[in-house]
C-alpha cells in the first residue's frame, strides 16, 4: 500500500531532477527572503546560482540549533507572519526552545507526508487511530493527526498521559493503531498486564512509534506484548515534525521522503560526508517548505543510509533507525560512548527488561559508570549466584563493546522511574 505511489516509487533520475529543481527554487527564495541566510551565503561568496548540481550543494553552509536560537523567534521565516497559519516550537529538551512556522501549503504537504508514513506502517481509512503524542507546541500530535485524517482513518486525539484512561479508550473505542513513543507503548503493555487485560482484548493491529531512539529488541517486545506490528518513524520540528521518514512493513529501515528532503550523513567532528553506509550525523535540507525552509540542518541525530532496494517497491532510500544523538554522546574516561550502544548490549540478555539507566560519577578525578538494569522476577527471586553470574556477563560484554569498564547493578522491575514522554537514560553526577 502506497499513499503517493508516483512519488514513493520514482525513478532515480527523475527524483534527482525534481530534488534539484526544488533545491534551486528554495535557494532563490531564501536568498531573497531571509536576511540571515543571505548573510551566511555572502560571507562565503556563494550565490544561489552557483549551485549547479546536487554535488555543489556541499558548498552551502550548515544550519545549527544555534542559528535557530540566534534568530529566535521568527528570524529564519521566509514568509511574512500573516502567511503563517501554524506555529510550533521544539520541546527544548536540550536548551531554549526554537520556533517553526507553516503556511497553508506547508500544512497540506506535511499532512501528506505523515499520511505516507502512516500508510507505510499499515494504517488505512478503516483504522481507528489513537494518537498518544502531546498536542500542543510539540509537532508529534498534530503532525500525525492531520495525516491520519487525510487517509480517512478515524482519529482519536487522546494526547499523551493518563495511561489508564488511554487503555480504557483503546478498549472502548476499539483502537486499531497506536501512535506514540515506543517507551510509552511499553508502559501501556506493562499496565494492561498489571490490570490483567489480555492483549487479545484490545483491537490493536499497528503501532507507529517515534520521537525517541529505540531498538530492535524493544520492537519485538512491544510487538509480542501488544500483539501488533510496530514500525518506526522519524522527524523533527526544525525540519517539519513527523513525516521525514518512516518504516514500511518490511521493518528494515525508514524510507526518507526524498522528494521533500535532501539528506546527508556527515562526521559530526569533521563535517565531511561519511563514506557510504557508515553512521554519522544526519543533515537535512527541506526542498518544499515555504514558511520555514532549512538548509543543511544538523539534526544531531545519528544514523546511516542503508544500501539496497526495499522489497516493498518504494525507491525512496532508507535510513537506519536513529542510534542516538550526537549530544547524547558521553565522554567517559576519554572514550566516546553512546547510550544506544549500552542498550543494544543489554538487549542481548534474556531476562532483562528494556529499562536501564546510566549513572555517571566522578570519584578522585576518575569517572565511574554504573548501569542499572531492570530484571524480571524469575531472576530476582532465584539464587544469588545466578544474579551474580548475569551481572558478570553483562559487565564483560559492555567492556568488550565500549572499551571501558562499567559497574552493573540489577534492580527490581519498576525501580527506574517511568516517564510518559521521553525516558531519562543518563544521570550524570560528574562535576568538572
Amino acid at each position: 500500500m502506497y499513499w503517493e505511489p508516483d512519488r514513493e516509487c520514482m525513478g532515480k533520475e527523475e527524483l534527482e531532477q525534481l530534488q534539484f529543481e526544488r533545491l534551486q527554487s528554495t535557494l532563490n527564495r531564501i536568498y531573497s527572503h531571509v536576511p540571515a541566510y543571505r548573510k551566511k551565503f555572502d560571507a562565503l561568496g556563494i550565490l544561489p546560482e552557483d549551485i549547479g548540481s546536487l554535488a555543489d550543494f556541499s558548498r552551502l553552509p550548515f544550519t545549527t540549533k544555534e542559528d535557530l536560537r540566534e534568530n529566535y523567534p521568527y528570524g529564519l521565516f521566509a514568509v511574512p507572519l500573516r502567511e503563517v497559519v501554524r506555529i510550533h516550537a521544539s520541546s527544548g529538551t536540550t536548551g531554549e526552545s526554537t520556533v517553526v512556522g507553516y503556511t497553508r501549503n506547508d500544512v497540506r504537504i506535511w499532512s501528506n507526508l505523515t499520511a505516507r508514513v502512516l500508510t507505510m506502517g499499515g494504517v488505512t481509512k478503516d483504522d481507528v487511530v489513537q494518537i498518544a503524542f502531546g498536542y500542543g507546541l510539540f509537532t508529534g500530535g498534530f503532525g500525525l493527526h492531520y495525516g491520519a485524517e487525510q487517509i480517512g482513518a478515524s482519529v482519536i486525539p487522546a494526547s499523551s498521559g493518563n495511561t489508564h484512561r488511554q487503555i480504557k479508550i483503546m478498549m472502548d473505542f476499539k483502537t486499531t493503531a497506536l501512535v506514540s513513543t515506543p517507551s510509552y507503548a511499553l508502559l501501556v503493555a506493562e499496565t494492561i498486564r498489571e490490570q490483567g487485560i489480555p492483549p487479545a482484548a484490545l483491537s490493536l493491529k499497528y503501532g507507529l512509534f517515534g520521537a525517541e531512539p529505540w531498538s530492535e529488541r524493544m520492537r519485538r517486545e512491544i510487538e509480542e506484548k501488544l500483539g501488533i506490528v510496530a514500525t518506526d518513524n522519524y522527524g523533527l520540528s526544525e525540519i517539519i515534525g513527523p513525516g521525514v521518514s518512516g518504516e514500511c512493513r518490511e521493518q528494515n529501515g525508514l524510507h526518507i521522503n526524498e522528494d521533500h528532503f535532501l539528506v546527508e550523513v556527515v562526521d559530526p567532528e569533521t563535517l565531511q560526508p561519511m563514506p557510504g553506509g557508515e553512521t554519522g550525523e544526519l543533515v537535512i535540507t527541506s526542498l518544499t517548505k515555504e514558511a520555514f525552509p532549512m538548509i543543511r540542518y544538523r539534526t544531531r541525530d545519528l544514523t546511516s543510509i542503508l544500501p539496497g532496494d526495499c522489497p516493498c517497491g518504494r525507491t525512496l532510500r532508507r535510513m537506519a533507525r536513529v542510534r542516538g544523538r550526537t549530544d547524547d554522546m558521553l565522554i567517559i574516561k576519554g572514550v566516546n560512548v553512546f547510550p544506544s550502544q549500552i542498550e543494544s548490549v543489554l538487549f542481548e540478555f534474556e531476562g532483562t527488561e528494556p529499562h536501564y539507566q546510566i549513572v555517571l560519577d566522578r570519584k578522585g578525578g576518575l569517572d565511574e559508570v554504573t548501569v542499572l538494569v531492570e530484571v524480571g522476577e524469575s531472576i530476582f527471586f532465584d539464587q544469588m549466584r545466578q544474579q551474580r553470574g548475569m551481572m558478570e556477563r553483562i559487565r564483560k560484554r559492555l567492556a568488550q563493546e565500549l572499551g571501558i569498564t562499567v559497574e552493573v547493578r540489577l534492580v527490581e522491575k519498576k525501580t527506574i522511574a517511568r516517564s510518559e514522554g521521553k525516558t531519562r537514560r543518563v544521570i550524570d553526577n560528574r562535576t568538572l
Binding site: 529543481e21 526544488r22 532563490n28 514568509v79 501549503n105 497540506r108
Partner: protein, 244 residues
C-alpha cells in the same frame, strides 16, 4: 519528455535566464508563470532553438537539443507557437496551415497534410469556416487558433505555447485555454505553456513554475501554487486579505 537543467541565456551581455531547471513528463501540461520581463519568452525561444543558450542542458526525449537548429527541433517533434502568433497576414488560413507542414523545407505527402488539416478543422471549426480568408483579417482569438493549428501540422508530440491568451477578450481567453486542454486530451500532446494569465494557466496545468527575474523561485502542483500567497499577490491579483 523534456528535462532542462541550469539553462542560461540572454541577449549579449544581458543575462536573462540564470540556471533555470524544469522537467515535463509525457502527457503533462506544465505552465511557467511570471511577470513581464521575467524571462518566460526567452526561456521558450531558447528551448525551441531560436535563441542560443550560454549554458545548461536541454534534453528532449533524452536527446540533447541545446545546440540544434530550430528546424531540427521541430522535426524531432517539439513545436513552438510563438508569442504574437507570427502569422503571414497576406496569406490565407489554409496556406498558413500548410506552411506548418513544411518541416525542414521538405513538404510532406499531400494525403498526410490533408489528414492533418482535417484534424485541425475538427478541433477549430472556425478555421474551416474561414479557410480561404486572409489570416490578417481574423480576430485575435482566431489568429491564435491558426497559430496553434499551424504548429500541429508539423505533427509535434510536444507544444511550446508562448502567451496564447495575450491580447484576447476574456471570453476568448477561456476558449483558448479550453482548446489547449483538448490538445492533450484529443491529440495526446505534452504542453509547456508560458503565461502571464496565471489563473487561467494554472487551471488547466498539472504543475507550474514561477519565474522571477530569470530564476525559478517556486514550483509545484498547480493546486499548491494557487494557494501560495506570493503567487496570489503577484500573479493572481488577489490580496491575501480577500482570502480570509
Amino acid at each position: 519528455m523534456l528535462r532542462i537543467k541550469n539553462l542560461e541565456a540572454g541577449y549579449g551581455p544581458l543575462k536573462v535566464l540564470r540556471k533555470v531547471s524544469l522537467h515535463i513528463g509525457p502527457g503533462e501540461i506544465v505552465t511557467v508563470i511570471g511577470a513581464n520581463g521575467a524571462g518566460k519568452s526567452t526561456f521558450l525561444k531558447t528551448i525551441a532553438g531560436l535563441l542560443g543558450a550560454s549554458g545548461g542542458e536541454v534534453l528532449f526525449e533524452k536527446q540533447d537539443i541545446r545546440k540544434l537548429p530550430a528546424e531540427r527541433i521541430v522535426s524531432l517533434g517539439c513545436s513552438l507557437v510563438p508569442e504574437g502568433r507570427q502569422l503571414f497576414a497576406p496569406m490565407t488560413v489554409r496556406e498558413n496551415l500548410v506552411l506548418g507542414a513544411c518541416v525542414q523545407f521538405r513538404r510532406r505527402r499531400d494525403e498526410e497534410v490533408k489528414e492533418d488539416l482535417d484534424r485541425v478543422f475538427v478541433l477549430f471549426p472556425r478555421l474551416k469556416e474561414r479557410e480561404t480568408q486572409l489570416a490578417g483579417t481574423l480576430s485575435g482569438g482566431e489568429q491564435q487558433m491558426l497559430a496553434i493549428g499551424r504548429a500541429l501540422l508539423s505533427r509535434p508530440r510536444m507544444l511550446l505555447l508562448d502567451e496564447p491568451s495575450m491580447g484576447l477578450a476574456p471570453r476568448m481567453v477561456r476558449e483558448i485555454f479550453a482548446h489547449i486542454a483538448r490538445l492533450r486530451r484529443e491529440f495526446g500532446l505534452t504542453i509547456l505553456l508560458v503565461e502571464q494569465n496565471a489563473r487561467g494557466a494554472l487551471a488547466i496545468a498539472d504543475r507550474g513554475y514561477v519565474l522571477e527575474t530569470g530564476r525559478m523561485i517556486l514550483q509545484g502542483p498547480s493546486g499548491d501554487l494557487l494557494l501560495n500567497k506570493d503567487v496570489q499577490r503577484a500573479y493572481l491579483g488577489r490580496s491575501p486579505e480577500e482570502d480570509a
